[in-house]
């Protein structure tokens, strides 16, 4: 028996007829509300990871500064930072623009993992980013570490919104062997766009007609598949927009990265069942005139991530979300002739959130023991991934990373 196209339209979201379209029940209807799962469970199934990629190679030495080290100041006569206002311990200071991160650190919500890198570092932006995103410094991989996670761990479930990239192009990290991960640039794009120059009544009529023409049909396998997907998408989009309307940020977000994180907070608050979010901020390739642009970038990163946590905390879901921040490489110890820095190696990573055990992790690389002018990494970045996979996403990290790495204690 065929469901009438027109009848289906009349059905409200929660009605029984949605159930009658079986596998197309929008994901958010089938999942538990976040609040239903005890936040104390360290490997709850609804834990969320947000990855913030700092593109261009972040100068780790001017981010977490070895401010007590003379070699640092001698190597960076012009761009070296002397401001000791944000000390993390006796020897390390945060870049003075990162007051928001110092606050998180003091609250025990920010883990700083020093000296992250990998063997035989590659100084190509492209290749090194690929290494970080595929978690494989040796072989070329076409799918990413988070893609592996999705393939291994989420197989068989409705993957439609299991991960969302905020941006225009999907990073390799999220490339799966299975269903592609959607990229959303703006919620406005995720839905039927209204034609310009038409009145509101016609917009509504148009949306209704598009839904009607896509109501579930079963004449052919292709039409059945498409109309189910379309019904799901239109309902999901409408739901996301409804949630967007309800969402009120509890803090003011900065522009740029802040807006990406605001969108992610919106989606998280909408309880879509999404486990992974990914976003990016560029501009870290500071070959010349590094200051003050680099400090400004770091300030934006810190204030954006801090705003994100505050917003989530106000909504009582900050314990469900961990943010991981990385860049493809750090920069050389010695500043260059243009008052900038060239491509280098190891740098700190940041992991933050209500469930994170804040503090300093990993040994800070020695500035006295360099490898051709570059820092020697002290922590393989894949240990950070393994920690998040094991302790936060309840995944077998050895299966996902195709290699075994010892988890750390920051979660």
């Amino acid at each position: 028996m065929k469901t009438s196209r027109r009848d289906l339209l009349k059905v409200s979201l929660s009605g029984a007829a949605v159930v009658s379209i079986g596998s197309t029940i929008p994901a958010f209807l089938t999942r538990f509300a976040l609040a239903d799962t005890p936040a104390t469970n360290p490997v709850a199934r609804d834990n969320i990871l947000v990855v913030v990629q700092l593109s261009g190679g972040n100068d780790g030495l001017n981010t977490v500064i070895p401010i007590g080290d003379d070699v640092y100041h001698k190597s960076r006569q012009v761009i070296g930072i002397k401001d000791r206002s944000l000390m993390l311990d006796d020897t390390l200071a945060l870049n003075p623009s990162m007051t928001a991160f110092k606050e998180l650190f003091s609250q025990g919500k920010l883990a700083v993992i020093n000296g992250c890198g990998y063997p035989q570092p590659n100084r190509s932006h492209f290749r090194s980013m690929e290494i970080w995103q595929t978690a494989d410094p040796i072989n070329f991989q076409t799918s990413g570490w988070l893609g592996h996670y999705l393939d291994h761990m989420v197989r068989g479930t409705d993957q439609s919104l299991t991960a969302i990239n905020v941006g225009s192009q999907l990073p390799t990290a999220l490339v799966t062997d299975g269903a592609p991960v959607p990229s959303i640039q703006a919620i406005a794009d995720f839905g039927l766009v209204a034609d310009q120059g038409i009145i509101a009544r016609d917009v509504a009529a148009e949306n209704k007609l598009i839904a009607a023409m896509n109501a579930v049909r079963e004449e052919t396998p292709a039409l059945q598949f498409l109309t189910r997907q379309a019904t799901n998408a239109i309902v999901s989009a409408a739901e996301i927009h409804r949630l967007t309307n309800n969402y009120k940020p509890d803090v003011a977000y900065p522009g740029g990265l802040g807006q990406s994180l605001r969108l992610i907070a919106q989606l998280i608050a909408g309880n879509l069942g999404t486990r992974l979010y990914y976003c990016e901020i560029g501009g870290f390739d500071t070959h010349s005139a590094e200051e003050p642009q680099h400090s400004q970038l770091l300030g934006a990163v810190a204030s954006s991530i801090s705003a994100f946590h505050k917003d989530l905390a106000a909504k009582r879901i900050d314990d469900k979300v961990v943010v991981m921040c990385f860049s493809e490489f750090g920069r050389r110890v010695e500043q260059n002739a243009s008052n900038g820095t060239d491509h280098g190696t190891a740098a700190p990573m940041f992991v933050s959130g209500g469930a994170v055990k804040g503090g300093l992790y990993g040994r800070y690389p020695s500035l006295a023991d360099l490898d051709a002018g570059d820092l020697k990494y002290t922590t393989d970045f894949r240990r950070v991934y393994a920690t998040i996979l094991e302790k936060w996403l309840s995944a077998d990290s050895a299966a996902v990373l195709q290699n075994s790495f010892q988890p750390m204690d920051f979660i």
Partner: protein
């Protein structure tokens, strides 16, 4: 009674003969243009419907590969295009697709780009990739054997599957494995030992700035044993040996059927076209012509059975609307919908069909009509559909709908949707039914939304 949409036709391999119940018309010409070219335009539909089905297929596939209408233009653009940049190679390819007089040639190149999926993510050099795509344009309808031998020594492929580092005494098995697993036989039709041995046959081929050549000192001339045959196999010999395997013709037959006819061909269909490939000694064109003129191809079962790739969707829409759009706009639309040309996700190529569709990509596809029909303040050329409708003399709501359904949906849309669309056009600003007359104002307020709606139908997503 059998459902024609779910069951392949009887006597599937006989040539399609138009009849009263299934005339040679807009529907079938558009179907052919979607599968064998880049989509229907009214001019192409008119041209093909004036011919017989077989002559229409000839008209598409009998292009002269040596005649590249773009080579002079490419030279003239030398100062503007940087082909080492893969993004610009993408734009150049879109430019060709939107302007070519030989759309089947680009279609065939797209097919092989997916078959021999090579990505700029590793090859890096856009020029190498542009060269590989040109190889597909040149040899794509010739002998599969020759094509495969050329691809084996293609610079981009040598980089992509590590032929560059496949040397005597230090074999790299990447190409040896993929050439059997993905390009010719399929998994299960060779052993791990065959992979090890055949990799040695491909040693020594290296791409340098001077071109591709066999470096004799890096070629392993010793005996190899592949498929139980022992000898001092070289690259061409290895290809010949692979193509002697019974699985080879079946593998290619299935891939051709999936790409050009139906996502789920039956074993009967696969076996038949496998035998035709062998009969024609691996010549692609005669086999493809047989396929594209068959009752199988012109069947309800095959019609709208496939899901358009993003490239097919976007390029097809622009062509249907008159062919003018900025290549950067076209490129970005397709990329966002999940198909970045020259960046296939892996050596398997794009999975295609249902894998194109998720909530986000489907909504992006649904909004394509809105984006194309909306004039933009950006420096983007957009199709001028307003004039196109005017030149067709459409005045009433029904005439405008007919015109657009002809352009986008082979003239086929159910009566209920037609009524709903017309009702939409008749509703005035006060919510009351009024009259409709086509003019600049109603184009903006009523016709543009109808274009958006027609391109957001499930049928429009289908090839």
């Amino acid at each position: 009674m059998a459902n024609d949409f779910l069951t392949p036709p009887e006597n599937p391999f006989a040539p399609f003969v138009p009849a009263a119940a299934s005339p040679w018309d807009k529907r079938w010409a558009s179907h052919l243009l979607r599968r064998a070219a880049l989509g229907p335009t009214s001019a192409m539909v008119d041209k093909l419907t004036a011919l017989s089905p077989a002559k229409a297929v000839d008209a598409l596939l009998d292009y002269n590969p040596a005649n590249d209408p773009f080579s002079a233009e490419l030279d003239s653009l030398a100062d503007f295009l940087t082909l080492s940049n893969a993004d610009q190679v993408q734009q150049w390819w879109y430019h060709r697709m939107l302007n070519t007089t030989q759309p089947a040639q680009e279609r065939i190149a797209l097919y092989w780009h997916n078959h021999f999926a090579t990505s700029a993510s590793k090859v890096m050099d856009g020029k190498m990739l542009a060269g590989q795509i040109d190889l597909f344009r040149q040899k794509g309808l010739g002998s599969f054997r020759e094509l495969l031998k050329s691809v084996t020594k293609d610079p981009a492929m040598l980089v992509w599957l590590d032929g560059q580092t496949n040397r005597k005494g230090k074999p790299n098995e990447n190409y040896g494995r993929e050439v059997m697993e993905l390009f010719t036989l399929g998994i299960g039709h060779y052993t791990e030992q065959d992979v090890k041995e055949i990799a040695r046959a491909f040693t020594g081929w290296q791409a340098t700035s001077a071109g591709v050549a066999l470096n004799p000192s890096q070629f392993d001339a010793d005996d190899k044993t592949v498929f139980g045959v022992t000898g001092p196999l070289d690259a061409d010999g290895a290809i010949d040996l692979i193509l002697q395997q019974p699985a080879a013709a079946e593998h290619l037959s299935q891939k051709l059927l999936r790409a050009f006819v139906h996502p789920n061909p039956t074993q009967l269909h696969i076996d038949y076209y496998a035998s035709r490939l062998l009969e024609h000694d691996w010549e692609i064109k005669p086999v493809l012509k047989e396929m594209l003129t068959s009752r199988l191809f012109f069947s309800d079962w095959a019609y709208r059975s496939k899901i358009k790739s993003p490239v097919e969707l976007v390029v097809g829409a622009v062509l249907a609307m008159g062919g003018r759009a900025g290549t950067e706009f076209v490129r970005q639309q397709a990329n966002r919908m999940g198909q970045t040309l020259l960046y296939p996700p892996n050596v398997k190529g794009w999975d295609g069909e249902q894998a194109w569709i998720n909530s986000n990509t489907l909504l992006l596809r649904f909004n394509l009509g809105q984006r194309l029909a909306t004039p933009s303040s950006e420096y983007i050329t957009k199709p001028d559909l307003e004039t196109a409708i005017k030149t067709r003399g459409a005045q009433t709501a029904d005439e405008v709908i007919n015109c657009l359904v002809d352009l986008f949906l082979d003239g086929r849309l159910d009566a209920q949707s037609r009524t709903d669309l017309a009702d939409f056009m008749y509703i005035g600003p006060d919510g009351k039914t009024t009259t409709f007359a086509y003019n600049h104002n109603t184009y903006t307020t009523k016709v543009r939304p109808v274009i958006h709606m027609l391109m957001a139908t499930p049928e429009y997503q289908l090839a």
